[in-house]
Symmetry: C2
Subunit: 339 residues, 2 copies
Amino acid sequence: MKIIVDAMGGDNAPLEIVKGALAGQKHWGVDIVLTGDENAIRGALTRCGQPEVPTGMEIISTSQTVEMCDDPATVFRRKKDTSMGVGLTMLREGQGDALVSAGSTGALLTGATLITKRIHGIRRAAMAPVIPTTTGQAVLIDCGANAECTPEYLVQFAYLGNFYAQQVLGLAKPRVGLLNIGAEDSKGTDLQKQTLARLRQAAEEGHLHFIGNIEAKEAIKGGCDVIVTDGFSGNILLKTMEGVGSFAGSALKGMFKKNLLTKLAALAVMPGLNDFKAKLDPNKVGGTAFIGIARPVIKAHGASNAEAIENAIGQAAAFARSGLIEKIEENVNLMKIEH
Amino acid sequence: MKIIVDAMGGDNAPLEIVKGALAGQKHWGVDIVLTGDENAIRGALTRCGQPEVPTGMEIISTSQTVEMCDDPATVFRRKKDTSMGVGLTMLREGQGDALVSAGSTGALLTGATLITKRIHGIRRAAMAPVIPTTTGQAVLIDCGANAECTPEYLVQFAYLGNFYAQQVLGLAKPRVGLLNIGAEDSKGTDLQKQTLARLRQAAEEGHLHFIGNIEAKEAIKGGCDVIVTDGFSGNILLKTMEGVGSFAGSALKGMFKKNLLTKLAALAVMPGLNDFKAKLDPNKVGGTAFIGIARPVIKAHGASNAEAIENAIGQAAAFARSGLIEKIEENVNLMKIEH
């Protein structure tokens, strides 16, 4: 198993990326290809106490980097030798089993689509983070790759999320819900109403365990395992979770910092507090899978530290081992809507 | 100041509604009209220690109730004598200054639109709750009345929310933001892009303090005072907040219940915990204003207890006193888009 890591992507590149790659190699027993500026990568390795490139790790030197300000639509035409673009090309050509990048989301999505390509028959790739819920976790698909969707996209997302929950998260019969502003069939826009009808049909035919519309509040309570939605609403849900999580965090901090007594109280509940924080910590969760691309691509958080990269590498290896892409390919005919 | 209260709406009607009306009358110094089943209301008054209808309170007897299962689109044609419908008719006819109901949201919205009517020139009424943010509060407009929107609706929501923040919340120059999946101008769907251009123009003309696109996470951090969005995304934001709030609540409960030490810790931070809970408690916040209707209508939470009704009555009185509707009427020409 060989994981390609874009060493130049993210706010903390290359040092934290390289550090995470070293940890990930050890933790998950995988080989690593680092793409990026060779001098910078070697410098980072040295700072990690590794003056030599370790066995099972190689550097593919590139001269350019995708910057956050680069236009995703044109960057790979303008810059032919970026750490991200070269990594995606290697992935397409089988010189690695999965790719991890903490670089620009838009560029990674465009690059994955244009260079690595979608699975044949899949209309749009989706971003599918695994989000924490009160009772466990759920796949949120899509969370921002596709602001504007058709019913066919959403039907495909339902299948993609379902197979991800089965193959990668190990759920036998994931409960698939359509994010909506009420549980009744009449709720939402035409997009939700048409998708609902299609997904009910898929459920009747035994292809999905579709539970109908689900409100955001119920989804976060753990009401389903796969939350199907357009990228606009999915992004609102995800970013609201992050916002309220940090809101609660700062409220708690204020609460415990008040006086000596509350500071002692903080010590007593520290393990519980840390569990709670870890549950909402993007560095622990790893990255966001791009589903629908012909090879496994994991987008790590832009602010990823070494731990986040280590976890994203583990997630990439699990994705590559899962047989998810083969499963999607076998079932792609179910996901087609006749026009 | 006379507030009409739908005594039969909500999960806890009529007892909690009547109890809240008594408390609201006293707290806010307003007269109250209770619409609903006279016997049931008198029974509730008796249970509140008021065998006689108090001075400044009257009962308008109605024989029917809008049920949650009633179709909002047809209920007021089928049932001519409901507590909600009669209340809205009285409101239109000036037999009260504002109306509070904890009944079906869909029916109240339809009834307010069909019976009490919109302000002339306003395309759609919006639901605009005031939500807590890390640094204070913000008006979220719309949060579910209009799942499908045009740029013109959103431009109107921006003005309506702006005037609400000025007239009711007392902000001199509210920061108005357009909810989007990124801050850049290119983000979102055509709806956001077209609305952004219109709102920028309104800002240039000095009508709004428009700050551009805002992500959900930044909005919850307190990045703006008025969050403009379609009802679908607004509902996702609101319900996600509720979901994560209750997620955090149950995580905290578990954390503090672990052992004797953590229970003692809970005692130490109890005041802070209660402040935090109160901030997210819908009963404390009151209700959601319907903005764009020609008279003030407040939707109280379906699960409202007496305290929630008391607060919603205060909010209704503040709305009625604020001059908001007059302000909207004076400025309605700014909100028109030529077709």
